[in-house]
Structures are given as C-alpha cells and as structure tokens.
C-alpha cells in the first residue's frame, strides 16, 4: 500500500494518457478526437515533471537568502515541458482551424462520413 502511495503520480499521468489514447481511437466526432489529443499532451507533461521530482528538495530558484548549496529538484524536465506546452497549444489551434474548414466543406464532423465522401 505504501508502494502504491509512492506512485500516485505515475498512475494519474498514465491514466490520463490512456484516456486520451482511447478518445483518439474510438470516438467519431472530430472535436472529441482533438480533445483526446489535448489529454495525451497533458498526461505526458505530468509524467515528465513527476519523473524529475526528488523528495525533500525545493523549487529550482535561488532567491534572496538561499545559500548556494540548497538542494533543488531537476530543472531540465521543467524546461522541456515548458517548451512542450507552448507547442501543444500551437498544434491544437491549427487542428481546430482545419476542422472548421472540414465542416465548411463537408457539412458534417463525423469521421465515418468524411472518409466515405472520398472517391
């Protein structure tokens, strides 16, 4: 039980990734698929920051009064996740613009009908 309490974060992040994967695979509305893509992104970010966490240490900012040898958590996953969040919002907005264009052209957002309209 103590071991499971240690890895709550991994269970939560992994669960979010799995829910996002299910929404991308099994849903038929284009907006739901894009919501699943957003969950995949958020789950991966939580997983990365949780891997870089060390117990008993503090945030990686050496403010006034902190000595030079204070123990801090890992700053590299946080920098990578910062970049990834901004890229995620760029990809999501472009995907939504494309789905608006698909709706203008086909009149529906159901992926089964959109594939059927191809020659």
């Amino acid at each position: 039980m103590q071991e499971m309490a240690n890895s709550f974060y991994y269970i939560g992040a992994g669960g979010l990734i799995l829910i996002g994967l299910y929404m991308v695979l099994a849903k038929t509305n284009l907006i739901k698929i894009i919501l699943g893509l957003s969950f995949l992104d958020t789950g991966t970010h939580v997983l990365l920051v949780a891997i870089g966490y060390v117990r008993g240490r503090t945030a990686p900012i050496f403010s006034e009064g902190m000595s030079e040898t204070t123990a801090v958590v890992d700053p590299v996953p946080q920098a990578l996740v910062l970049t990834a969040i901004v890229i995620g919002v760029g990809v999501l907005s472009l995907a939504l613009a494309l789905s608006i264009q698909v709706y203008r052209h086909y009149g529906t957002l159901d992926v089964r009908n959109i594939r059927g309209l191809k020659w």
Binding site: A5, F8, Y9, I11, G12, G15, L16, I19, G20, Y22, M23, K27, N29, I31, K32, I34, L35, G36, S38, F39, T42, H45, V46, V49, A50, Y53, R57, T58, A59, P60, I61, V73, Q78, V81, L82, I85, V86, V89, L92, S93, L96, A97, S99, I100, Y103, L109, D110
Partner: protein, 79 residues
C-alpha cells in the same frame, strides 16, 4: 500530504472520463479546462512553479477559449 495529492489525481481522472462521456460539446470543453486546472495544481505540488504558471495561463485559459470558438462555428451536439 499524499491524501491531498491522491484526491486531486482522482478528481483529474474523473474529469477526464466525464469529458469522454458528455454529448454536449461545450460541457466536454469545460471539463477539459477542469483537467488543465487540476494538472496545474499538481505541477505546483511537484515543485515546478514555472510550469504551473504556463499550464494555467495557456492550458486553462487560451485553449478553452479557442475550443469554444471552434465549437461555436460547427455543431454543438455530437451525434
């Protein structure tokens, strides 16, 4: 402290499942914003204030607004 973390993670997973179930797309987008907000709280509890600020401003604010604008121009209810 692990009780608070456990409750927040459980709420996040429940909100994610609710997004997948709702048929009204505006409700689904609002629960997606709830997932982003809870993820931002988890980032703060993991000693990452930069990432928490970025996720709160971008994920819970701008992404929700862009989703609502996109749903407004297409259908509101999923068939």
């Amino acid at each position: 402290m692990s009780v608070i973390e456990g409750i927040l993670i459980l709420l996040m997973l429940v909100a994610a499942v609710a997004t997948s179930i709702f048929k009204d797309l505006i409700s689904a987008v609002i629960t997606c914003a709830a997932v982003s907000l809870l993820a931002s709280l988890l980032f703060y509890l993991l000693d990452a204030p930069d990432v928490a600020m970025a996720e709160a401003a971008i994920g819970a604010g701008l992404t929700t607004a862009i989703f609502v604008l996109a749903v407004r121009k297409t259908k509101r209810y999923e068939e």
